[in-house]
């Protein structure tokens, strides 16, 4: 087990180099000079332009720029933004906000999908099942930014239940609205998987055995059915996590949440190489680690899955 974890963690290293190099290349391939854009419609003096380009190593070929970046990383320095802030500081400030949002969204997603998925499975073909199918199709089909605007307009501006934007107060309580939108947008696929999985499990021999022993539904469903039905939902949540990170970028911009996604959005607009690469790399590493944790979870849910050679 320990060797397995270690091997998975070592795998992060090539992923790190591969992704940073690829992203750096993509940023480099973006047309246009970000320093020129700093001057707006006004043309800068060539000497000043050259001097600023040298300051950010933008006058060097891409592989040299990448080299500077990697050297910086090993010195614990991810570079500076155009506004002179260290990318380390920016990450340290924004990551907790996004993490909080992600945890809330996943909690909402799980709660909704497990409860609604299980009830749908137990009442297969009845009204509850049909209504929840239609609703989940609507949530899957609606792009997340549309959900965001609808929630912002009706729940915040019209009904006044929430604040329309988050801004400075990004405590747990203030993040409810964006977390609900994110959670709801993710819940549909998990809920369908949960429903299918519960239906399958209900037909298993051991469930029939449990019923024939005279156990009540209240005993059978939580202990025998749910635990075994969770595996596909958890696998899916690892993939969903990628969707969540992308969704967070949109959601954070619309609800003005000072998180990783919002900063990444702004940095991309400004072609800030070091900021974009660092942020996307952190996304990649988080994604890899989340997948690792999910793989380890299988072992807990189903001891038959072993991590031996």
């Amino acid at each position: 087990m320990f060797a397995y974890i270690l091997r998975r963690i070592v795998q992060v290293i090539p992923v790190f180099f591969g992704s940073t190099l690829l992203i750096y290349f993509l940023v480099f391939a973006m047309p246009g000079d970000p320093i020129l854009a700093l001057f707006g419609d006004k043309a800068p003096n060539p000497a000043l332009l050259a001097s600023l380009q040298a300051q950010y190593h933008l006058d060097q070929p891409f592989i040299v720029q990448y080299f500077y970046y990697i050297i910086g990383i090993f010195q614990g320095n991810m570079g500076v933004t155009f506004s002179g802030q260290s990318v380390n500081d920016v990450l340290a400030r924004t990551l907790p906000v996004t993490a909080r949002l992600a945890v809330m969204a996943i909690a909402i997603e799980f709660t909704l999908s497990i409860i609604i998925g299980t009830i749908s499975a137990l009442r297969k073909g009845k009204i509850f099942d049909n209504v929840s199918l239609v609703l989940s199709l609507i949530f899957v089909a609606t792009p997340i930014f549309v959900l965001c605007f609808i929630a912002q307009y009706f729940l915040a501006i019209q009904l006044g239940w929430f604040k329309p934007t988050v801004g400075a107060q990004n405590d747990w309580g203030d993040l409810w609205l964006p977390a609900i939108v994110l959670g709801v947008s993710l819940y549909a696929t998990s809920m369908r998987l949960m429903r299918g999985s519960v239906i399958d499990t209900l037909n298993m021999d051991w469930v029939r055995t449990a019923y024939s022993k005279g156990l009540s539904r209240r005993r059978v469903v939580p202990t025998h059915v749910l635990r075994n039905s969770l595996i596909p939902v958890i696998t899916n949540s690892a993939t969903n996590f990628g969707v969540l990170l992308v969704g967070a970028t949109v959601t954070e911009a619309i609800f003005n949440i000072p998180g990783v996604g919002n900063t990444l959005f702004q940095a991309t607009l400004r072609h800030e190489g070091p900021t974009i690469v660092s942020f996307v790399t952190v996304f990649v590493i988080i994604y890899v680690l989340v997948n690792l944790v999910v793989d380890l979870f299988y072992g807990l849910l189903d001891p038959r899955i072993r991590y031996v050679k």
Binding site: M30, A37, K42, A43, L48, L52, F82, V90, P258
Partner: protein
């Protein structure tokens, strides 16, 4: 015990007296009731964006940082709501001749760290801003001062300290509107502490303006900055409120949502998604007035069919083929004003009756005629295109302009989108662009020259179309050498009449400033530079 009772009695007396006084004044004048209800300690919440640079006046050239810098620093002059300069730190600014100025500073004015504002505060700050190796984005503001160099580090030898409160400015060429420029943020003074560690200073600036940072952590990056009234400030921009919370928004939509929900007091931008509805949503709390922003598109001479007489005819034909009235109405919901010159209606000296301004009116017949005349010189082939950046919301009007041209002249006309602003500007700056392209200008200071000199003078820094006309240059330099502003503006208007013939850029419209404020907020006035005069705003 006794003392307490005495104090209470005193308080009661004072209370009775104020009540009586309030009664008198309330009866006396109608206006005092609305002002007396406002709370002078109220914090005004407004929109902004994370500054792109540390808060150093000479390195701040974008609106997010500029808005903050203007509130925490004061220059020699400030501009009132009409764009007129009013002395702030200066006691007097004397223009001795078009190349020499003498500045006297009011004694006893202080930075918030207690240091007095002296001649050195200005001289050192400007020298810092001008020095090449300091890489300051606004260094071009000092290029007219003697000693300035684009190629090497050099001192501004034109700045001479006479005494602690007097200094002189010598310019390397006539610039009679130099005094008018002094209200721009690049000319703000800095305390000597700034130069010890300019980076740390930019993070936590010490200013001399109507507001100051609330505390050490006032600037929460990407979130907001909190300013409070600077009680030591003595100038004309005394804050009538207790402070400002400038909340940084990633999108205008978020700011507008907050305004509708009453979470923000004043905003100075309306998202394009709400342009059609905001005047209905906000009623008389909606703001829509012209600003000092001129928008155009430029057709460089070097493009095929656009040089010499043929080019002049084609430019005029294109200009007359655009229905500006209709486009500003349908695409921009009247939040743009069709252009009638090359400047802006909020600038002193603006005129809508220049000779040749007809070329900016939609005239289908005349446009066709002119185009046919050009075809007689050399027949048109190919497609006419305007390049624009698709990250800036330009597609709708470019398409409309292209349709207008296509239908009027019967030629192929399409927009040429670039992914973003940086890539468009790169091709424009390198002169590799092969089509016409959108251009715009937001004035740095409220003077006609700022809309003309940097853009159309031969070899000027922002002359993206490489326009050159000796007659225009002559009128421009006569204007800038004239110390009488009426005479100067007359020259600038004549110079524009040449532009109306040559059309180095085709004027489209002036941008309006769009904004709004919440219930219970009063005295919201927008300045010439599209930013509300925050010190005037009251609420409660």
């Amino acid at each position: 015990m006794k003392r307490n009772k005495l104090a209470l009695a005193g308080l009661a007396l004072v209370g009775a007296a104020t009540l009586a006084l309030a009664g008198c004044s309330g009866g006396g004048s109608g206006t005092s009731t609305s002002t007396s209800s406002s709370d002078s300690s109220a914090i005004i919440k407004t929109n902004g964006s994370e500054p792109q640079n540390p808060l150093i006046p000479t390195n701040t050239n974008e609106t997010g940082g500029g808005k903050i810098i203007d509130e925490i620093f004061s220059g020699l002059v400030y501009y009132d709501a009409d764009g007129k300069p009013v002395n702030d730190m200066a006691e007097s600014i004397t223009v001795d001749d078009p190349q020499n100025l003498t500045v006297k500073i009011k004694p006893g004015q202080k930075f918030t760290n207690g240091e007095e504002v002296t001649s050195d505060s200005f001289i050192n700050a400007w020298n810092y801003g001008a020095k090449l190796s300091n890489n300051q984005l606004s260094s071009y503001f000092f290029e007219d001062i003697e000693g300035f160099s684009w190629d090497e580090d050099s001192d501004l030898t034109g700045l001479k300290k006479v005494d602690d409160h007097t200094f002189t400015i010598a310019l390397n060429k006539p610039a009679s509107d130099f005094a008018l420029r002094l209200g721009y943020s690049a000319f703000y003074p800095l305390p000597s502490e700034a130069f010890d560690d300019i980076e740390a200073f930019g993070e936590n600036p010490i200013g001399n303006g109507p507001y100051k940072l609330a505390d050490k952590d006032a600037w929460q990056h990407d979130v907001q900055i909190s300013l409070v009234k600077n009680e030591d400030y003595q100038g004309g921009r005394q804050a009538k409120n207790g402070g400002l919370d400038i909340v940084f928004y990633a999108t205008q939509d978020a700011a507008y949502a907050d305004l509708l929900a009453g979470n923000v007091d004043v905003i100075d931008g309306i998202p394009s998604s709400a342009l059609a509805t905001f005047q209905d949503d906000l009623g008389d709390r909606a703001v829509n007035q012209p600003a000092a922003i001129f928008q155009s598109f430029t057709i460089p001479d070097r493009l095929k069919h656009f040089s010499g007489e043929e080019g002049q005819l084609r430019r005029q034909a294109l200009s007359m083929a655009i229905d500006r009235e209709q486009i500003t109405k349908t695409i921009f919901q009247d939040t743009r004003t069709p252009a009638s010159d090359f400047t802006s209606p909020v600038i002193a000296g603006w005129s809508d009756s220049l000779e040749g301004a007809d070329v900016l009116k939609y005239d289908e017949k005349k446009a066709k005629e002119l185009w046919a005349q050009a075809d007689a010189i050399s027949p048109w082939d190919g497609t006419f295109s305007i390049a624009y950046n698709s990250d800036g919301g330009h597609q709708a009007w470019v398409d409309a302009v292209m349709n207008s041209i296509k239908n009027t002249l019967g030629i192929d006309a399409v927009g040429a989108p670039y992914v973003d602003f940086a890539s468009l500007r790169t091709e424009v700056t390198n002169r590799t662009i092969q089509t016409a392209f959108r251009t715009g200008w937001q004035a740095d200071y409220p003077g006609l020259y700022n809309f003309l000199g940097p853009l159309y003078a031969t070899d000027a820094g922002s002359n993206d179309g490489d326009y050159s006309n000796p007659d225009f240059d002559k009128l421009l330099s006569e204007g800038i050498s004239a110390t009488d502003s009426d005479k100067a503006n007359e020259d600038f208007q004549k110079a524009q009449e040449i532009l109306l013939k040559d059309l180095p850029a085709i004027p489209l419209w002036y941008s309006n400033v769009d904004g709004g404020y919440a219930d219970g907020v009063q005295n919201v006035k927008f300045g010439w530079n599209s930013v509300p005069l925050y010190y005037e705003i009251t609420k409660g």
